[in-house]
Assembly symmetry: C2
Homo-oligomer: 439 residues x 2
Amino acid sequence: MTELQNIDLAITGAHILTIDQDMTEYKPGSVYIVGNRIIWIGPDDEQPGNFLIKERIDASGKILMPVFFNGHNHAAMSFLRGLGNDLSLDKWLNDFIWPAEKVMINPETVYLGTMLSVIEMVRSGSGIFSDMYFFEDQVARVCEEVGIRGIIGEAIFDFPSPSMATPQETMEFTRQLKQRFLGHSLVNVSVAVHAPYTCSPDLIRQAGELAEELDLSANIHLAETQTEIETISGLYGKTPVQHLYDLGFLSVRTVAHHSVYLSPDDRQLIKETGTSVVTLPNSNMKLGSGACAVGELIKLDINVALGTDGPASNNHQSLLREVQQLARLERVVNYDPTCISARELIRMATINGAKAYRMDKDLGSLETGKKADFQIINPDQPHWYPRYDPYNSIAYAMQSNDVESVVIDGKVVMRNRELINIDEKRLSRELKKKAGILF
Amino acid sequence: MTELQNIDLAITGAHILTIDQDMTEYKPGSVYIVGNRIIWIGPDDEQPGNFLIKERIDASGKILMPVFFNGHNHAAMSFLRGLGNDLSLDKWLNDFIWPAEKVMINPETVYLGTMLSVIEMVRSGSGIFSDMYFFEDQVARVCEEVGIRGIIGEAIFDFPSPSMATPQETMEFTRQLKQRFLGHSLVNVSVAVHAPYTCSPDLIRQAGELAEELDLSANIHLAETQTEIETISGLYGKTPVQHLYDLGFLSVRTVAHHSVYLSPDDRQLIKETGTSVVTLPNSNMKLGSGACAVGELIKLDINVALGTDGPASNNHQSLLREVQQLARLERVVNYDPTCISARELIRMATINGAKAYRMDKDLGSLETGKKADFQIINPDQPHWYPRYDPYNSIAYAMQSNDVESVVIDGKVVMRNRELINIDEKRLSRELKKKAGILF
């Protein structure tokens, strides 16, 4: 370290949960940031003195931890939130969602819908999300405007999409996105394959090859419902997981969403190939799909992360609520209150997401050299007392609004509940104006 | 109506969800209050003009609905929240909760613990809760200080309690409480029988008779776990429900908490006797107990209300989160997204609680002549857009902190997130001082 190095941002006095391999805590601790990276993190009383600090935030009495990593989303679908609920999945999709999407999906609605979701995500401590939808360049635009990280994936399936005439066009668009956002500070690109039941075997194979060629993550809805299991078994005489395995789609770059219906053999294939799973408990519950046996995956040391899914099937965007839901769902499914720990859950919501998308070198925990992506939480509220264990308080008692400030890529994106780069009041007025047309 | 009648409080401009029999809405609507009662409610443009209004709250753009009714709690247990989690129920109770209670329970901790929970309840829209614990006069003291309604029940079981030497003493204390709070504006009393496995048949019979004699509600933990079913079957050769039925304990004055393990015959007995059920989904999930088959109860037209349970087994105090949890749990248990509607859920959280405790003449819905107990919610936030249906937004997307103001018994208890009668900052300082001793 050179003498009198300039520090762009220093946070001091916080109870820091690093979520590193040893779950190191500093109480109180400090983080020093230059540009977008942590150049020092440690206990307050070991702070090095040879720094010129440009901006200091006193976080005394606050908890500082990595931002949440939202592993799967269709963020733009906020404009469909609450449309036609309490319905069977078929009726909901056929009579409400698909007709509405047909009329409503265009670059502007995708921009606006994603903006709504992204604001909700930041306000509940998420700093990155993986998205699968249409007009994903609009999602990237929102990320740049708000200052959140996004992994954008233009949805690939056999039939024409609202944005693309053919899957080949979509794959070509994915290739362009990869070029366009090469080295971007916030936006990453993925190959977003919709599902085994909406993509031909050939298309899945091609998409997998594209991901490999471009060195991108490939993500897919997999084994979400019993119906899917029956459909794929009828078509190919095997489980969806075995089907993808045989097509060479499963690998360390693959992220499988949902994975509610897995056989023991399926789990072995997921394990063997290094595939990650994103579990989405609130969506699976709301749609009546079932419960992913997360404990079984953890036993096999499979990497499991968390996601919200789109707002239309959840209906919120707070990853914290997924942590808290999985804590409860896993217990009731197993009739066992010991089956999953608060620490495991919080690793799933942070570092495991980064691992799933192979970004854990930079993201997911707070360590010297990693990117400065963290949230500051205010626990000085009745629902936090007493605080025997901070992980436990987060996994069971914390509320989304307790997130006070969010720093992403070294920049303050929300400070004291105010988004820095977005005029929320103006957005609210715009939404109301559009209400007649859109909603 | 007389000319120029004085109105103590008028709320205007709100989107009112009355939760009356017809689920009437006024959009925008007004509520006029004299003393602790609603003397007029209706659409804004039909407001009568012959009134002198002392205080007016403009609730334009807000949602106004009844407060939530928390049907079962051990509020003081907030001081045990987060103590020894991720453990089996046995280990948790034997190694943590019971030893801690032995040392920690006294009038002061009950007061402080209840205060914490009550603040959290008010801040998330609850205006009344039914409590079962020890030193319940301290719970009443909190209700008076904060301005919330409480139904207080000193826990009855065979062995000595932290506050009472014998169950007879507890029943005598219940008798005294009933006298002391006769006609009290906020505090009601119940006969709080702990459970079939902690009370002898004789004690249960006596407690039931006491409730009848004093015309009080009787509430009891019933059929909460598989272990309870086995214990009671081993002791008496029948289900806990049949056991209580044979003891004459089940009636329209009885409220059964949990009721996770019910046989079809049990349900018929509950139906036949007019017993109400309080379901506590988050507690049942966190403790790995199981899922109450709420849909089966509703089919039989049994009155089902909602509760949080104590903060140690939940770990929060927001009834809204129980609404949102049950919405999801019921769907995933039944693999069916159509099994329960948002409207039903919100009735369970309001009017059904009032019915369970036979208070629906005064509470649970907003109608002329009923008591003025309501919450004002701010939906002008990203996670509320779009708003196709307010019930749906509440049941899935709303956050506890969206409750802006709470009126109980005609008095503003929270205004713009500030509790009127409590100095939260002072309380927080007191808690920190006690932290060394208590936590």
